[in-house]
């Protein structure tokens, strides 16, 4: 007599080494384990763009196409972090934090400290407190909260921007609309945009240009040379 697991298929007698199969193997009474269906979600690789399914609760995965390691959770940087970073969740760089790698990509980035590397925010980059970006940033939406200050030494390229605090940067490129709030202060060497609103009280200084390709086709008024001819 010996003990075996409930669902054993075959075993060997521990005394005489006789091999025998379980009488339940071919029977209909065999118990089957049923696994609950794991909820999954779609994941896009930050590097190659390949799409795959991962468990909703997964904290990391590897791209099936390019093999890149993908972190799916959130990350808080309170000291200095070296090396590249790619998150599908939220990245927070604290007031004393510094991202020292070449590039950090996340769905959402909350910047309160410094970034020596390039930042890419798939959804938004929100600035709170005193923040600095050395290599520039890009993403869908740039949000600078009231009272926050962002100093960028390179270009910032976003689809839209909502600025309620202070921004100083070399080049600001906005595909869509820029909104500058009544307490905002923006100093840029060059700003390229499609549409812009500066509320009363807001400040904007620098050179600007509306993105030419987005100008609607319309009958053009006569140019300067024609003015001089008609006024003679």
């Amino acid at each position: 007599m010996q003990m075996e697991s409930e669902n054993f298929i075959s075993t060997v007698c521990r005394k005489c080494s006789f091999y025998f199969k379980s009488p339940l193997v071919s029977g209909s009474s065999k118990k089957k384990t049923h696994r609950a269906t794991i909820p999954k979600r779609e994941l896009t690789c930050a590097d190659c763009g390949a799409i795959q399914m991962v468990a909703e609760e997964a904290q990391s995965s590897s791209c099936l196409e390019c093999g890149r390691h993908l972190e799916l959770g959130h990350r808080l940087i309170e000291g200095e972090l070296l090396g590249n970073l790619s998150l599908e969740g939220e990245l927070e760089i604290g007031p004393r934090g510094n991202f020292g790698g070449a590039k950090a990509r996340a769905a959402r980035i909350l910047l309160k400290g410094r970034a020596s590397g390039f930042l890419e925010a798939a959804e938004w980059l929100r600035v709170e407190g005193q923040a600095k970006i050395r290599l520039g940033a890009k993403g869908r939406q740039l949000l600078i909260s009231e009272g926050a200050v962002l100093e960028a030494e390179d270009s910032l390229a976003f689809q839209s921007a909502k600025i309620e605090g202070e921004l100083r940067c070399e080049k600001l490129m906005i595909e869509g609309a820029v909104w500058i709030g009544p307490r905002a202060r923006v100093v840029v060497e060059r700003v390229v945009f499609r549409e812009m609103t500066v509320e009363i009280g807001g400040q904007l200084t620098g050179f600007g240009e509306v993105k030419a390709k987005l100008v609607e086709a319309r009958e053009e008024p006569p140019i300067a040379e024609e003015i001089s001819e008609t006024s003679k």
Binding site: A177, I180, R185, V191, F193, R194, E195, M196, T197, V198, E199, I200, G201, G202, Q203, L204, T205, G206, F207, G208, E209, V210, A212, L214, V215, E216, R218, E219, E220, P221, P222, A224, I227, S228, T230, S231, K232
Partner: protein, 106 residues
Amino acid sequence: METEEPASGMGLQIAGSVGLDQDGVIRAVVKGDIRSTSKLVISRKSVVSGVVQARDIRLEGRVEGGVEATGQLWLVAGSVLRTRCVAKALQIDAGASFSGEFKVGG
């Protein structure tokens, strides 16, 4: 004077500066500056080669010399502004064209 009709000049071609002390609509080609102490509309097809100064400005046409508004400046779709943009508040619609220096607020 607010009940009076706004000043306008359909098809005018003006060589020289224009001064207005009431709300006005410019429908002309102006080779010179425009100064107003009130609201001003530079209508579509109007062209101003000089500087436009007014309290509030709505730009629908073209200004080559820049605008200076002590109040609000509105560039509607199809408008063209070059050189300089000074205002207390600013609205640039999609489809407007601007290239030059900004000084808004402050």
